[in-house]
C-alpha cells in the first residue's frame, strides 16, 4: 500500500512538472503552432500523470474508471480542438515561424 502511495506521489510530481513546462512553453514559444504543441502535449501528458498518480492512490475501481474517463475526455477534446485551431490558422494563411 505504501509503495502504491509513494509511486502515485511520484506520478503527480511528474505531472505537475509537465503542467508547469507547458505554461512556460505557452509563454515562451514564438508562434501559434509551436504554442499549440506546448499546450496539447504537455498538458495532456501532465493530466495523464496526475490521473495515474491519483488512481494509484485511490484504491477503488469506480474512482479509477472515473478518473480515466476524465482523462479520455480531455484527450479527445483537446486533440480535436488543437487540430481545428491549427487548420483554421492555416486557412487564414498565418505563416509558421521559422528559425531566422
Amino acid at each position: 500500500m505504501d509503495i502504491l502511495y509513494h509511486s502515485g506521489t511520484l506520478f503527480i510530481v511528474i505531472g505537475v512538472l509537465f503542467f508547469l513546462s507547458g505554461t512556460v512553453g505557452l509563454i515562451r514559444f514564438p508562434d501559434i503552432y509551436t504554442r499549440l504543441h506546448a499546450l496539447t502535449k504537455a498538458d495532456n501528458v501532465g493530466l495523464g500523470c496526475v490521473v495515474c498518480g491519483l488512481a494509484l492512490q485511490s484504491g477503488s475501481w469506480v474512482l479509477t474508471v472515473k478518473l480515466l474517463l476524465i482523462w479520455l475526455l480531455v484527450l479527445i477534446a483537446s486533440s480535436a480542438s488543437c487540430h481545428l485551431i491549427a487548420s483554421s490558422a492555416m486557412q487564414k494563411n498565418i505563416k509558421p515561424w521559422t528559425r531566422p
Binding site: 507547458g22 514564438p30 499549440l36 502535449k41 501528458v45 495523464g48 469506480v62 486533440s79 491549427a86 487548420s87
Partner: protein, 177 residues
C-alpha cells in the same frame, strides 16, 4: 449524414439490435461509473442510457467502427509511450536555456481510408513527439513539426501502421509504394 440504406434490408430489427446492444452496454457501464451503485439512480439512468444509445446510433457514420482487440492492446502502450516522449520533448524545449526550435511543415499522404480511421489518425498525430496535424485535405495531411531534424516520416508511418491495425485496415497498405 444519415444513412438509411443499411436499415432497408429485411432483417432490419436484427441489425438494429446487433448495432445498438454494444452501445447500450457501454453506456450502462458509463452510467454505473458515474452514478455509483445506488439502485435509485437508475430511475434517471435508464432513460439517459436509452437516449444516449439512440443518439449515438443516429449520429454514427456509415463506416462501421470495428476496433480490433489485439490492435488496441498494441496501440495503448505505443500511444502512452509516444505521448510521454512527446511531453518530455516539449518540456525539454520549453525549459532549455537557449530556444532550440526549428519548426517547419511536412506533407504526408496517408493510405488510411476516408472516415473514422483517418480522423483518428489525424487527431493522434498531435500527441506524437514534435508533430502536430495542421491540415487535412482529402488524403493529404500537412504536419507542423517542432524540429525538422526529427524523423517525422518514420514516426508517422509507425503511427499509421498502428492505427491500421487498430481499425482492422491491414492488407492494402504501405507495400504499394
Amino acid at each position: 449524414m444519415p444513412n438509411d440504406n443499411c436499415l432497408s434490408t429485411s432483417h432490419t430489427l436484427a441489425t438494429l439490435v446487433r448495432r445498438s446492444l454494444p452501445r447500450f452496454a457501454i453506456f450502462s457501464l458509463l452510467w454505473y461509473a458515474l452514478a455509483g451503485s445506488d439502485a435509485l439512480s437508475w430511475v434517471i439512468g435508464v432513460p439517459a442510457v436509452l437516449l444516449a444509445t439512440s443518439l449515438s446510433l443516429s449520429l454514427a457514420s456509415s463506416s462501421r467502427l470495428n476496433i480490433r482487440v489485439a490492435g488496441l492492446l498494441h496501440f495503448i502502450p505505443f500511444f502512452l509511450y509516444q505521448s510521454f516522449r512527446g511531453g518530455i520533448d516539449v518540456m525539454h524545449r520549453a525549459l532549455s536555456f537557449r530556444q532550440c526550435l526549428d519548426p517547419g511543415l511536412v506533407a504526408y499522404t496517408t493510405l488510411l481510408p476516408e472516415g473514422s480511421a483517418r480522423i483518428f489518425f489525424v487527431n493522434t498525430i498531435s500527441l506524437l513527439p514534435g508533430t502536430l496535424s495542421a491540415e487535412l485535405r482529402g488524403d493529404q495531411v500537412t504536419i507542423h513539426t517542432l524540429d525538422q531534424g526529427l524523423p517525422v516520416w518514420a514516426n508517422i508511418q509507425r503511427l499509421e501502421y498502428h492505427v491500421a491495425a487498430l481499425m482492422g485496415e491491414t492488407g492494402e497498405g504501405r507495400e504499394n509504394l
